[in-house]
Amino acid sequence: MKGLFQETIRAAERGVDGGEESVTYYYVERLLGNPSELQSGGDEGRAYLAVLLDTIGLRKESIRVLRDAFNPGKSDDSPALQNMEGMLAAAHGRYKRASDILNDALYSADSPQMRGKILANLAAVSLQAGRVDEADAWVNVSKSIQYSGDPAADVLIASVEVNIASARGNKQALRAAASSLRGASGPWIAELGPQHPQALAVVANMANAEIMVAYAEDSPIRLQHAIDVLEVAAFRLVAELGIDHPQSLRAMANLASANFERALTSGSAQNINQANVALAKIHGRIELSKREADIRTISSVRRLNIFGDPVRVTARLNAAQFNRAVAAELRTDVPRAYAGTEPWHDEVELARRIINSKNKKERNAALTVMVRQYDQVVTRFCAGMLSDPDAALDAAQNTFAHALTRLGEGRGPTLSDDRRRDELSAWLHIIARGNCIRLLRRRAQVFLSDVSVDDLPDDVEWRTGEAARRAYVQRLIDSVVATLTERQTQIYGLRFVEELSIRQIAERLDVSPRTAGNEVGILQALIADGVSALILAREGRDYCPDLGHILDEETFTDERFTSNLRNRIIRHFSTNKLGDACPICSSLRHQLLAPYSP
C-alpha cells in the first residue's frame, strides 16, 4: 500500500470520527487520479476505504474506489470489490441493484471461500427485500455446494435460515436453524475476541434467534433469558458504535419489539406504555435515518413545510457537527506557515500565496487555510440554493475540489487592485453556484427524463403511486383547512391556492407585509401540525392510551375532525412550556407521516 492510499485511509478514518470531510474528498480525488496508488491498496484496502467513504456520505466516491476508475462503466472484475459494492447497495435499500451486482460477482468468483461469502450475501439481500423463497433457494445452493470456511458467511447463512423458518412458522426448522447458528457463531466470537463490536453483534443476533425459538415454544423463561442477553449486547453495541449505527439500531429495535411483546402478555398497562415508548423511540430513530435520504426529493407539498421537521433536524445536526469540527481545527491546528505574524486571515494575501507561491509547502498550507476559511460560507450558500443539507455538503466539497484543480492549473481568480477584498470569495461562490445549478438540473432529470427504472434507486421505483399519494395528502390538508377560522382560510387561499407573494397578500388584507408574513408563518405551522394531528387521530389510537382518551372525549370519527380536537392533539404531542409532550405521539407522528411524505 503506497503513501497516498494510506493517507486517504487515515483521512477517511478521521472523517468517520467527525473530522472534516472536505479533506477526505481532497485525498480521494487525488487517489482516484492516480492508477498505481489506487491499485496499491489491493482488494482489501479498497473495500475498507469504500466502506469508510460510504459511512461519511461520499457514496459516489466509494463506488469509484471499488470500480475501475480509469475505465468508467467497466467493472474491475474483482469479485471481492463487486461483493462490497453489492453490500453497500443493499445497505442503502437498493436490493435489486445489490442482487445484480452480487450475481455478477458470483459469476466471476473463483475461490470457494469468496463464493460462500457472496452466496450468503445474496441470501441476506433476498431476505431483506422480503423474497423469502429466493433467500431459501440461495441458502440451499450454498449448502448443497458446501462452500464453507468463512465463519462470517456461515453465521450469515444460519441467520437467514432462522429468519426464513420464523417467517414460515416452521418450528422444527427454526430449532435446527438456531442450533446451527449457535454452532457457527461460537468459533467466530472466539476468533474476534470478547470485546469486538462484531462479536457483540453476533451475540445480539443469536439472542434474537433465541427469542424467536422462545416464542415458537411458548417459553416465557427462555424468552426472558434471551431478552436479558440481547439487552446487554445492544447496550454495548450502542456504547461502542453509537446509537445510529445499523448494528446498534437493529439490536435496539429487536430488543424494543421483544419487550413490547412481553409487556403485551404481562397485561400491565404501565409495562405496555413503557415498552411502547421504547419502541416508538427506536422506530423514530430508524425512520429519521431512512428519511434523511428520502426527504431530498422535490414536491409541491413541501411548500407547506408539513414534512420539514426532519430536514431541519438534519440541518441542525450537520451544522453543529460542522461547527464543532471547524472550531476544533482552528483552535489547535493553524498551519505553521501562517501562524504568528503571517497575515493568513487576509484574503488577498491568501489568494496571492495560493496562486503565486513557488514554495510547495507554503502553497499547500495556504490551500488548507482557504478550505477551512470558506468551507462554512460556501456550505451555507449551497444549502440556501439546494434546501438540502446533505446535498449542500456534497456541493461544497465539489466546489473546493474544482477550486483546487483550477488553482493547480493556474486558473485562479484575477487579483485586481480596486476589488481586492472580495476576489477569492466571489470566485469560490461562482464555482459553488455552478455546482448547485448542475445538481438541481440533475435532480430535475431524475423526475422528468426517461431514465430506465433499473437506473433509479428502489425507493424511487417504489414511489410509482406518486399521484395517489399526493391526492391523499391534499385530502388531509383539505380536512385540516376545514378546521381553520375564516381569516386563516382566507390567508390559505391567497397564499397556497392563488400563490400570491407576501407583499400581494399584505395589500389584499390591508396590513403591513411583516404582519402578513407572520400570519402566513403561523398558518403554515398550524397546518403542518394539524395534518400530524389528523393522522394521529386516524391511526394512532392503538399506540397511546392518552390519545385514545382524547379521541373518545371528542367523539372522533373520520368525518368529524374539529378545531378543538386538532388543538388538543397538537397540545398532546407538542413540547409546551412545561415540556410534557407525549413521547409516544411526538415520535409516532413522524412514523405515521412517513408513508405519505414525498
Partner: protein, 291 residues
C-alpha cells in the same frame, strides 16, 4: 422507570457510598473507589433511585485498575427499562451530571475539553477518558464520583457519555481540587468487564438453566489476589468439561498476568515464562484427559 430515573445512590446499612447508574435491567455501574470499604465476603449494597425506590444489588465484578465496578441488580424491575442513548463526546460539548450528593449540593456541569483521551487514572491503568471543565468551582467534588456524565441537549432525552471518576488537584493550592474532572467514556467502562463480554453472554445464552439470572452464571471475579472462575454459589464452572474449566481458569490467570504487567507489578520477561508454564499445564492436562 423513566429515562431520567436511571441514576442511583449507592449505600450500605444506611451509609452513603457514592453514585452509580443502571446500564441494563441487571447491571449498574459505579466507580470502584466508592465501594472500597466493602469486603469481599459481603458485597450487598442498596441502590436508591430518585423516585425513592430502593433495590438490592451485589458487586459482581471489579475493574480495579480502571476504578470501575459492576453491580448486579438482584431483583430487577419487571417493566421495560428505557436506556438513555449512549454516545461519544466531542470537544466543546456541554455536559452535566444529573446526580448530586445531597439536596444542599449544586448540580455540576461545564464543557468537554477532550472527548476521548488516554489518561492514567489514580487506580493505575490507562483508560479512555473524558476531560471535563467544570463551571462550578467547588474546590472539592467528592461525593459526585460514580455518577453519569450526560451531554446537554435542548430536546429529547439525556445522552450518556461516561462515568465520573476523578477530580484533578489544584497545583497551587494543596488540598483543593481544580475545576478539571475526569470520567471514563461509556464504551471504555463497559469494555472493562468480562460479564459484559461476548463470550460470557454466549455462555449465558446457552446455559441449560434458564432460571438463573444473567449475572449469576459463570463469570470471572477479581478478589484482589487473582481471578476465579465460579458461579455465584462458589461452585466450579458449570459450563462444559473439566478441560474447558481448566482452559477458562488458565485464561483468567493469563488475564491477571497481563494486568499485572500493564500496571508494572510484574516484569514482562518473568510474565512470559509464567505464561508458557500455564499453557504447558493446560496442554498436559488435556493429554491426561484423553488417556
Amino acid at each position: 422507570m423513566a429515562v431520567s430515573d436511571y441514576w442511583v445512590e449507592i449505600s450500605r446499612q444506611g451509609a452513603r457510598l457514592g453514585a452509580g447508574f443502571v446500564l441494563t435491567r441487571h447491571h449498574a455501574l459505579t466507580a470502584f473507589h466508592c465501594l472500597r470499604s466493602i469486603s469481599s465476603d459481603d458485597e450487598d449494597v442498596d441502590l436508591s433511585f430518585a423516585s425513592g425506590e430502593v433495590i438490592q444489588g451485589r458487586i459482581c465484578e471489579r475493574a480495579m485498575g480502571a476504578d470501575l465496578a459492576l453491580i448486579d441488580i438482584l431483583k430487577p424491575n419487571e417493566s421495560t427499562f428505557i436506556l438513555p442513548d449512549a454516545d461519544r463526546a466531542d470537544r466543546g460539548d456541554s455536559w452535566s451530571a444529573p446526580y448530586r450528593p445531597t439536596t444542599s449540593d449544586p448540580y455540576i456541569g461545564g464543557d468537554v475539553l477532550s472527548g476521548a483521551m488516554t489518561y492514567r487514572c489514580e487506580a493505575g491503568h490507562e483508560i479512555e477518558a473524558l476531560q471535563l471543565g467544570c463551571s462550578q468551582n467547588l474546590g472539592d467534588y467528592s461525593g459526585y464520583s460514580g455518577g453519569p456524565v450526560e451531554r446537554c441537549v435542548a430536546s429529547g432525552g439525556p445522552v450518556l457519555l461516561g462515568v465520573l471518576l476523578e477530580q484533578y488537584p489544584d497545583r497551587q493550592a494543596h488540598g483543593r481540587a481544580s475545576n478539571v474532572l475526569f470520567a471514563a467514556t461509556i464504551s471504555e467502562a463497559v469494555r472493562r468487564f468480562n460479564h459484559l463480554g461476548a463470550d460470557h453472554l454466549f455462555k449465558v445464552l446457552y446455559s441449560d438453566d434458564k432460571t438463573l439470572p444473567i449475572s449469576s452464571t459463570t463469570f470471572h471475579r477479581y478478589d484482589g489476589t487473582g481471578f476465579t472462575y465460579e458461579t455465584e454459589e462458589g461452585q466450579d464452572s458449570r459450563s462444559g468439561t473439566p478441560l474447558e474449566s481448566r482452559i477458562a481458569a488458565a485464561g483468567s490467570i493469563l488475564d491477571a498476568l497481563h494486568e499485572w504487567v500493564s500496571s508494572g507489578v510484574l516484569d514482562p520477561t518473568y510474565a512470559s515464562a509464567l505464561t508458557l508454564r500455564v499453557a504447558q499445564r493446560v496442554v498436559e492436562s488435556s493429554w491426561v484427559e484423553d488417556e
